[in-house]
Amino acid sequence: MTQADVELPAGLDQAFGAVAGELGQATSSWLFVRAVARCAGDRAVEGLADTAGPQFVVLDAVARGWLAGVREQVVDPRPVLEAIGSATRLVVVGVEATFLDALVARINPAVKIAMIAHSPFAVDWDRVLDNYGGRVERVDLDTFQHWAGGKSALLTFAYGQNDSRTIVAPLWLRACGADVRAQFRALVGWNVLEAPMNLYPRWLVEVDVDSFTHFVPGT
């Protein structure tokens, strides 16, 4: 059976939804696109974008970017580390496994890290945190302010930038209200999507880039 003969199985949208919450939409998208390309070629990647893209726009963006020649994911945590600066506590809002892994590997070991365990997808939070061997703690949406302070920073993942607007998980808006903004010294957005999104961002929401104290373009 050649690559060209391999058809895409049905139900890939269900499969994507099963992991998007735990790995992050960008990380999951790259995983799916690479697997599909490896097994079935670029035509199948286009099919993936056509079938699952409308529901998962990040997947659509990564797949279309792949077809346009973007074959590598850019993961550089250094600008994020600069943005975090001398913060001693970091609360992560949202999940992107590839990027968070890179950040955790480089960040000062003295910095305490927490992740808000909240997602519209079903997530095994124990498994998510087990991957960090105790380095990342779990906090909830109603208790993460316990981590606030003059040396605390908030970090979320952004999906593309279009002029002055970017796209983030709705959890960011829930977490980063007017009260919280003045309780964390740095509000960092890390763009994890090189290719622009062409579809209406379901599962996500648009915000001003200026709402962050530091926006890391990621490219």
């Binding site: 001398s86 309780q183 010294r185 104290t213």
Partner: protein, 174 residues
């Protein structure tokens, strides 16, 4: 129905000016950026505008009096400006405070230190949303520095007379 008023323009706000004014009160650049953001970047537009105007004016006053000696003010004691997180989320043992503290020395002009009156003053100044509390603290720093400068001046009787001279008999030069 009254016409809807749009928020006042705050285009005049230049954060770098306030950053410069607070440089010696908050030496760390990242801490200072956080404080300046809270004072000028959060809250309703008119609060931000008011904060900017008053801090600039006080900054000018201090400059004309010869500059601020924040270190001396700091040595005479400060109180933390706490973050208003829900009480059950406060971290015990280390208060969640802003990098800009409230100097106590200027308040001692109004009420003796460690008295209920002064404590009440501290509470009033650090209560409310962060843009109020931090702006209040910044203003007390500047007012305190100004008072110190004025306090260093010799009394009026010891200063050179400034009364106008009596008319001389010599005719004015042409």
């Amino acid at each position: 129905m009254p016409p809807h008023r749009s928020a006042p323009s705050t285009a005049f706000i230049d954060p770098s000016r306030i950053d410069a004014i607070l440089a010696s009160a908050v030496p760390d650049a990242e801490d200072r950026a956080f404080v300046v953001r809270c004072i000028l970047g959060e809250g309703p537009a008119h609060h931000r505008g008011v904060n900017y105007v008053l801090l600039r004016l006080l900054g000018l006053l201090v400059d004309r009096l010869g500059g601020a000696d924040m270190a001396a003010l700091r040595e005479r004691g400060t109180m933390p400006v706490p973050m208003k997180v829900p009480p059950h989320l406060e971290r015990q043992g280390s208060l969640m405070t802003y990098p800009l503290a409230l100097p106590i020395a200027p308040l001692s002009e109004l009420a003796p230190a460690a008295t209920p009156e002064q404590s009440a003053m501290v509470e009033c100044l650090s209560d409310g949303p962060p843009q109020h509390a931090l702006a209040n603290a910044a203003m007390v720093w500047l007012i305190g520095a100004a008072l110190d400068r004025i306090g260093e001046r010799p009394p009026a009787s010891a200063r050179t007379s400034t009364r106008p001279r009596t008319k001389s008999s010599a005719p004015p030069k042409r």
